[in-house]
Amino acid sequence: MIKNLVLFLIFSLILLSCKRESPINLPPHIEFKKSPAYITTDSTVAFGKLLKVGIIAEKALVNITNILIQVDTGVLVTAFDTSFNTDYFEYDYLLRKSQAEEEKWIFTIRDRDGAEQSISFVLKKSTFNDFSPILTFDSIVLKGRLNPDPKSFLSLSDFSTYTLAEAYNNQENIDIFYYYGPENHTMASPGANVEPDIFTGATPAYKFDFWAVRNTTRYKIFEVPKATFDAISNDSLLIIAYGVEEGKRKAKELVNGQVYSFADKTSRLGLFRVIDISGKDSGYIHMDMKIQE
């Protein structure tokens, strides 16, 4: 009996000791698009200059799943990060030269097995600045969905405000959406993860899930005194405020006096300041805005 037991335990331990083998990886391929429209090499560029980078990536053994764009100004930050599952990836990225003397832009492609490949270039700041003029709006009012005049949507193309039904019929023009929700007064956009409850009642047919075009605007909180905000006359502070790291899809818990920087679908930058905010679902937000032309 004991002999049988010992043989059994030996047999069982053999079963339990099996291990996996690790696969061998070849890294995927990545290169810059080569055309005058794109930047591909080390350059000296004016602060504020908007540049276009074109990326082409292809799989080696397995599909590519992630592109990571980072910028190193002495501190490494992630400017862009998205994922997919494909054998070929092509992407145009807009970047703006920061106020750092030197910054290194790193483009990394990673495949599903973790193999990765990177390319990069360095941008140095020139002595010239490339600031653009801005538009100023002293009074933009957006209202909650239960307000008698529920114009909750804003277009950054013509700066018109829209109701939900009107916005649904002008999807390509809609950039900003204001609502009162679980995080109180919130600024978002059709491309944000907006709570479905916001569209209950008579309006569920116009839920963002059913939109064909969902523009995304991203936000970052920015602390600036009112006087400085009022004195802005070009986009230099707008560029500094937004920085290189991608913003969030929502500006939440808005209160009077707060300032947010934002970037729309075309990387056009702006700042808004909350002048007055009131109520809940039938409330409103009253703000100033400065935005690149």
Partner: protein, 763 residues
Amino acid sequence: MKKWLFSLILLLATSFTYAQNNLIGQVVNAETGEALQHAHIYIKELNRGLLSNDTGFFFLKEIESNKLSVYISYVGFTEFNQQIDLSIGNTYSFPLSPSAFTSSTYVVTATRNKQEVSMIPARVDVIDEERIKSQSASNTDNYLQSVSGIYVNRSGGIFSRNASVSLRGLSSSARTLILLDGVPLNHASGGTINWHMIPVQDIRKIEIIKGPASAIYGMNAMGGVINILTNSPESGLGAEAEFGFGNFNTSAHRITVSNLHEFNKKNLYWSFNVSNKKGDGYFVTPDNLLDWYDAPLSIRETKASIKVGSKLSPSSHIENNFFYYDDIRFSGNEFYEPRGSFEKFNTLQNSLNYSSLFGKTQIDVVAFAHQENYYRLNENINNTELYKLSETFHKKDDIGLFLKVNRRFFKNHIVTSGIDLKEGLYDGKVIYRTTTDILNYQGNMLFAGIYAQDEFSLWKNKLSFNLGLRFDHVVFSDGAFGVENPTGETGFIDNESEKYSTKNWQSFSPKVGFRYKFWKSNSFYASVSKGFMPPKTDDLVRSGKISKGFKIANSELQAETLTNYEAGFSLNPSKKINIKTSFYKSFGKNFLYLLQTGDSIDMGDDTYRQIYKRRNIAEVEISGFEIDLNYTFSKALNFQANYTFSQPIISAYKDDEQQTNSSLVGKYLAETPFQQVFSSICWNNKIVNTSVSYNLIGKQFADDLNEFELQRYYLIDLRFSRNFGNHISTNLDIQNILNQKYLDRKGNQSIGRFVLLSIQYKI
């Protein structure tokens, strides 16, 4: 005068001498003539009980009476109760006939010894061979749907990822001990089991013991014990092939080869079984919500088992069982990966059972090793249309040794004691393929239990008692959790590496019960018992995404306990009717429950998930009632019905800061139906054996705040079976014949009607 006095004295002396009878008896099997060892013998006139020896004999000397009332009982046989006259002879053979209800009437699970159901002070249900043949089942847990007090959650039928089986209001399979031929299947790390790996065609019998059985089984046996017993070869060389075809392009095949060789009162047997099952599945997303990425659930399963055993002597037996299971189950979505998200289980289990009688002492040894490798590929697109791809690897290794000794003392006491040792290793990793996040987690659980039990009966077995006590010691060690290169996908900001301190828990689990046969086979039972379950390794070490949010580990969890009070009746108003009822009230302390913390976490890009944490709820109360009716119209026609009521309520709750939180008090535990009904009728005839069953699952809540109520639903199943000669048999199973569809707690649509035709050929 002196002469007649002397004659009188001589006559009296002679009479007295003549009245000093001896009795030589032998208890035998009326059908085979085999001696029956250790049969209970009771002589009413002498008020004396004794046991037959190893050759069935018993001896009584110097008996004054000539006429004796002899009562003999033996497990598996009808009782013998007759008068004998020693003036005719003093050597008797007492033949006992095998009982017509051998299979159902005796269980091995309730007390870890073979015991008659009518003697056990607990609620015991048995799914015997007849019920197994007549009931439609494509997985083992399908059989359990017919048992009162059991809730089986398997909305996707054979295409479900797994089944959840819970007993008496105790949600989670981890609170029910599942045994396969006495070997525990519950993983030490989490308590759950993979129901698919159990070879459903190999099942001979299922024994269910309801109510805490921790007094002899320890952890996992809080709600009860389910022991699945498999077939062993009963004759010489044989083979069986089975082919099955069903809707959703389902096919199932099986081959079994076996042999039994008998020699010199010993035997050697083996069986080999291999089967596979595959099906293209169905869409779990309701039809009106189907999107481009929805794909049907589909499965591929392969199982193999080898059983080798031997009856080494009339009183010793050894058996080795080896199981292999491998499957792939697709999860119902397909974005960019070929075939989409899927899960894979690869399981190996080996167990050795040895039992032997040494004199009056029975020794049983069970040794087992179980390895499960789990892999999951998961892809999805979140609310902001961002694609996610991740791989999960789990390894669970369990090894154990159970030693049990039992012996008879003082005529009618069976004393059982034993030691159980078990260790479970848990090692997991999640690699996110669309970011750089990697999670690692591991832990080790060691269980040691020692127990003792005394079963005894009085008044000719009219009153039986069971007293048990077990001490368990559980040690959690080598717990660790780490995050590498986080990006926010996992909710972590920086690299993390945490090692958890060793923890241990102890518990004493007593049980006291009695059963009283107040009239013939009608009886009443009552018992008080305590159950114990330590925390799971997964809850102690792993943080990360779960289906409903984000779970954080809690290394401060305490073991939960349950005290159960129950009573019930078993009534036989006639030979055709059997009614069983049970009432129970359970009080749980430190119940482990997954609760929202009230916070949410930004999973990156404004995708927020509710944070959950497994916590100890202060107190839970469960009230329940079960009633079963079995009516045997004739040998060919049988009706069965049962009703279950169960109400588990959170009666007290304190959060981590020991603040009393009233918002959960009075809430019902989630995923536990309040009421269930089952009924079936089976008709065996020469044309086609037919059975119809009805199963109603009542209202239940999907969440801990009781804000989401799941719809109640009913299912009607049919089975038709027929034999063609001695070699061919067929079964046609139609599950959910009315094609009832319902949404489960995850919002997935149930399978609807499932049809399977199978043909078996046996030689």
